[in-house]
């Protein structure tokens, strides 16, 4: 009987952690990009960023390099695929889903930064409810009713599981993890803006 419980448990875990191609996905997202949110899909230098909105190191990275990366994106100089992971807890799921809701209004970068700027001091504190996330979206410049109902309905919650399943296959074991043209960023460069700029400059991105 215990064996039965174990097998059911394993079956459940395996099935619920697989990618589901039938879930609602944000625009700019595709399976080919590991279901990440892609900005500037045709740019030559390809960046992949795995992060969790509740992760303190990710907040530090955003504080140091976020403005610079956003400038590069807005100038069309780099292609970035954002993979918001959700392993820290349920609020990571809500935050990632809320960020996905802002893609259609073109406010994803603003929402991305706003989330880190309002990251609670403690993980899983209960602060990030859908109501709180709607307020953050508004401060990021997206108070549209489409985004609000998207957040309230949890439209992209299931999409976050696809990101997790993809991150598992890509062997991402900490956040933030950034790849530039397939090469993982040096661990010391996340909080060293000069070094990060040099990495991009070496690829012709200034």
């Amino acid at each position: 009987m215990i064996l039965f419980v174990v097998l059911i448990g394993v079956g459940f875990s395996v099935l619920s952690n697989k990618t589901n191609s039938k879930v609602s996905i944000p625009s700019t997202v595709s399976a080919a990009d590991g279901y990440g949110i892609v900005l500037n899909k045709d740019a030559k230098v390809k960046v992949d960023l795995w992060e969790d909105f509740q992760c303190p190191n990710c907040r530090n990275f955003e504080a140091v390099a976020g403005g610079y990366i956003n400038d590069l994106v807005r100038a069309g100089k780099i292609r970035v695929a954002f993979h918001p992971m959700t392993f820290i807890g349920p609020e990571s799921i809500l935050a990632a889903a809320a960020a996905a809701c802002t893609v259609d209004s073109g406010k994803f970068l603003e929402m991305h930064m706003a989330l880190y700027e309002s990251q609670p001091a403690k993980e899983n504190s209960g602060t990030w409810t859908n109501a709180a996330l709607k307020v953050i979206a508004a401060t990021a410049g997206d108070a549209s009713s489409a985004t609000q109902s998207c957040i309230d309905s949890g439209k992209y919650v299931n999409w976050t599981k696809n990101i997790e399943a993809d991150a598992a296959t890509k062997n991402v074991n900490s956040t933030p993890t950034m790849f530039i043209n397939g090469k993982q960023l040096d661990q010391t460069h996340y909080l060293n803006l000069a070094a990060l700029k040099a990495d991009f400059a070496a690829l012709g991105v200034k």
């Binding site: 215990i2 419980v5 875990s13 395996v14 619920s16 952690n17 997790e164 296959t169 074991n173 900490s174």
Partner: protein, 156 residues
């Protein structure tokens, strides 16, 4: 008063509760559990991911068996083997200079250098290995549902 039956009960509860709790916490955050196994860099990624999903349930199963006192020899053998496996895995991570959290009670993955707790984790798991060995040698104790008692009940 004979001490051994009570010692067996205590050992069953210690090992059983630890395994049940460890499995339960991991099962609650499956993607984190998978990350924990991958971070050891021992198994190929897809196998590591599968192991991360399967392990928690094996721990839960073994934990329940030990707490209730069924198949104590098998479950203590399994639990002890698991602990030795963990000791080996943590030791190799330490030796290779990896910076990871063992992920033993949920959590896991890479951590900042200097934030590792390898010695504590290894000592704890060696203690649990010893507990498992004791249980394997003395599986029959208080409040256990073991064959000897069941057969005895039938004969009466």
């Amino acid at each position: 008063m004979k001490v051994q039956p009570w010692a067996t009960l205590l050992a069953r509860l210690v090992l059983g509760v630890v395994l049940l709790l460890a499995g339960y916490l991991k099962a609650q955050t499956p993607s984190k559990a998978q990350m924990a196994v991958r971070a050891y860099r021992l198994l190929p990624v897809s196998i590591a991911n599968l192991f991360g999903l399967v392990l928690p349930w094996l721990e839960i199963g073994a934990g329940i068996l030990l707490i209730v006192g069924i198949a104590v020899r098998y479950s203590s053998l399994f639990g002890g083997a698991l602990m030795l496996l963990f000791v080996g895995a943590i030791s190799q991570a330490w030796a290779r200079g990896l910076s990871i959290d063992c992920g033993c009670f949920g959590g896991g993955g890479e951590v900042a250098a200097g934030h590792t707790k390898y010695l504590q984790e290894i000592l704890r798991d060696l203690g649990l290995t010893a507990t498992a060995i004791f249980l394997y040698l003395y599986p029959h104790g208080k409040f256990g549902i073991d064959k000897a008692k069941l057969e005895g009940a039938h004969l009466e």
